[in-house]
């Protein structure tokens, strides 16, 4: 198999959220005239955009999805409040090293951080091929290897490095290609932090991101599934289109500024911008590690009166653990608003709309104008630490002063 070859591969897991299931289900039944889903047990459905629909349209979409799942005998439907689609799939053991994972959410490559081949494919791909035949077609991508070397400076997290790479390399740098992340930084990070790299490979237009799974990944997976899996190792003679090395020691906290995810600056260059909303949530935020980091900065302090700080745990399990650790009480007392496990303000489907002139800083993944309400609102993207510091100050702020 060489780059450029077209292969048809068996799919192990298909991930839907409420919006993508609705669009794909409609395509399957109306365009494809699909009758039967070949492997219903491989389909994971998570309602993460509408966690409590405020519109009739939202209610209709969820209801149509529930009926679709019932009609086609799909057993794995996680209804509103369960969590973000990717973390729910991980939490419930649907992702394993060596698995082929697809979904029409563009951030599906996140699962490459657990040793899966994972990529986003369209509604028609899934409706016409994956659901009826259990497969997907892929054009084999060339692979670029990115070696991340060194340790992170104080106040800097994987999010900052992943975002730094997007700014440095460009939003279309890896078009139609795969990126393998390696280097001595990765083993120093916990498994969920590593996921930020394949997650954000999409912002360089990569087809997939991958990290060779190690024992830490194996242990993480074993906590979530009893199914056996093989710790896939790289071929010793694997061919890379190029190998590039980045020293991460000098990376500072990074902020993606409007209008695109690649418009990345060090926090020192944007500090002082007033914000009205701050949010920790979404696929790159709201994990237990994020809530712990948020509590570390907020403990004993108060959110700025001009700011609404919104906290969205990534799964119910994370919320429960945060309760047990006393984190939720710390966040609550600091003035944060806690929302149900979901994808939070992503696309402002169920929360997070902004009006002209307002600004939000969040751990989310997208900042295109109009993504959250008015095209004249501004969206900044940053690490949990930077969002936390900004929520306290009412302006975009460098988190390092809170992390002495």
């Amino acid at each position: 198999m060489a780059p450029g070859d077209v292969v048809v591969a068996e799919v192990d897991t298909v991930i839907f959220h409420d919006l993508s299931l609705y669009l794909t289900g409609r395509t399957f039944e109306q365009e494809v005239k699909g009758q039967r889903i070949l492997h219903p047990e491989r389909v994971v459905i998570v309602f993460d955009h509408f966690f409590a629909p405020a519109t009739e349209e939202g209610a209709r979409i969820l209801q149509a999805n529930r009926e679709f799942a019932r009609r086609h005998g799909l057993p794995h439907l996680f209804d509103s409040g369960t969590g973000n689609c990717h973390y729910t799939a991980i939490q419930h053991g649907f992702i394993r090293p060596g698995a082929v994972v697809v979904g029409s959410d563009s951030h599906t490559p996140v699962h490459g951080g657990l040793g899966a081949f994972a990529t986003g494919i369209g509604n028609n791909s899934i409706a016409a091929l994956t659901l009826p035949y259990g497969t997907a077609w892929f054009r084999v991508p060339p692979t670029i290897k990115l070696l991340l070397q060194g340790s992170l400076a104080r106040g800097v997290t994987a999010r900052d490095v992943a975002q730094y790479l997007v700014g440095r390399l460009g939003e279309d740098w890896a078009g139609y290609k795969a990126i393998e992340y390696a280097g001595d930084l990765l083993p120093r990070l916990d498994v969920e932090e590593r996921l930020l790299f394949p997650l954000m490979c999409i912002d360089m237009d990569a087809k997939a991101g991958y990290i060779e799974p190690d024992e830490a990944v194996a242990a993480y997976i074993r906590q979530r599934t009893a199914q056996s899996f093989e710790l896939v190792r790289n071929d010793p003679d694997a061919v890379y289109e190029s190998v590039q090395t980045f020293d991460v020691e000098e990376v500072e906290p990074q902020v993606a500024c409007p209008p695109t995810v690649g418009h990345v600056k060090p926090v020192t260059a944007v500090a002082g911008e007033p914000i009205q909303y701050a949010e920790v949530g979404g696929t790159p935020g709201g994990r237990l590690g994020d809530l712990r980091r948020l509590a570390r900065v907020l403990d004993g302090r108060r959110v700025h009166p001009d700011v609404r700080l919104q906290v969205v745990p990534v799964t119910r399990e994370v919320f429960r653990q945060a309760l047990d650790e006393g984190i939720i009480a710390v966040l609550h007392d600091a003035g944060a608003n806690i929302f149900p496990a979901s994808s939070g303000s992503n696309q402002s489907t169920n929360m997070g709309a902004l009006t002209a002139g307002q600004a939000m800083i969040s751990t989310h993944t997208r900042n295109f104008p109009g993504r959250n309400g008015s095209p004249e609102a501004r969206i900044f993207l940053a690490s949990t630490y930077t969002v936390a510091a900004s929520a306290l100050k009412g302006r975009i702020a460098d988190p390092r002063e809170f992390l002495e």
Partner: protein, 169 residues
């Protein structure tokens, strides 16, 4: 079957246009005719007012990044656009467009060589863009044979129906 030879007026947009600007989330579940009335409205308001069937949309680099939804090329098709020619495409859109049977053509250098309003003749199979207004021909990157087959059939589903559920090389 998709028309792989298109002749029409050129409409131009810039680099890194996200799918959010093609179909905003708020319009995601509306009928295509209604969706089509808002396509690219935030970046090129005149486009939906003046576009005619068979016109050519020319974009810069990394066209249709952001969400991977196939609704984006479907809404573009609903505007009547015959083909999208871009410096480059986001990979999800590149895949989706072929799968729904919307002809697209990657053409490095295109934005320098056509102006809004020029009359263009696009041959997708041959990978050629002719600027009839300026009398120039621009070489593009024709789709690889596999995707050309999909496009000729009219999309992935039509292709699979044509070939009994099998991929032929």
């Amino acid at each position: 079957m998709s028309a792989l030879r298109v002749r029409g007026r050129c409409w131009k947009v810039g680099d890194n246009i996200p799918t959010d600007a093609i179909v905003a989330t708020a319009n995601l579940f509306k009928p295509y005719e209604e969706m089509a009335r808002h396509v690219l409205a935030s970046v090129h308001p005149e486009f939906v007012l003046g576009v005619k069937p068979g016109d050519v949309l020319v974009a810069g680099r990394h066209f249709a990044c952001s969400s991977g939804r196939a609704v984006a090329p479907k809404a573009l098709r609903a505007t009547g656009i015959g083909v999208v020619v871009a410096e480059s495409f986001a990979r999800t859109f590149y895949r989706n467009a072929h799968e729904i049977g919307l002809p697209i053509l990657e053409c490095p250098g295109i934005t320098e060589q056509v102006r809004e309003g020029d009359e263009l003749d696009v041959d997708v199979e041959a990978g050629l863009v002719r600027n009839l207004t300026l009398g120039q021909t621009i070489q593009a990157v024709p789709p690889p044979p596999f995707l050309r087959g999909m496009l000729k059939a009219g999309g992935l589903h039509a292709y699979l129906e044509l070939h009994g559920g099998e991929f032929v090389s």
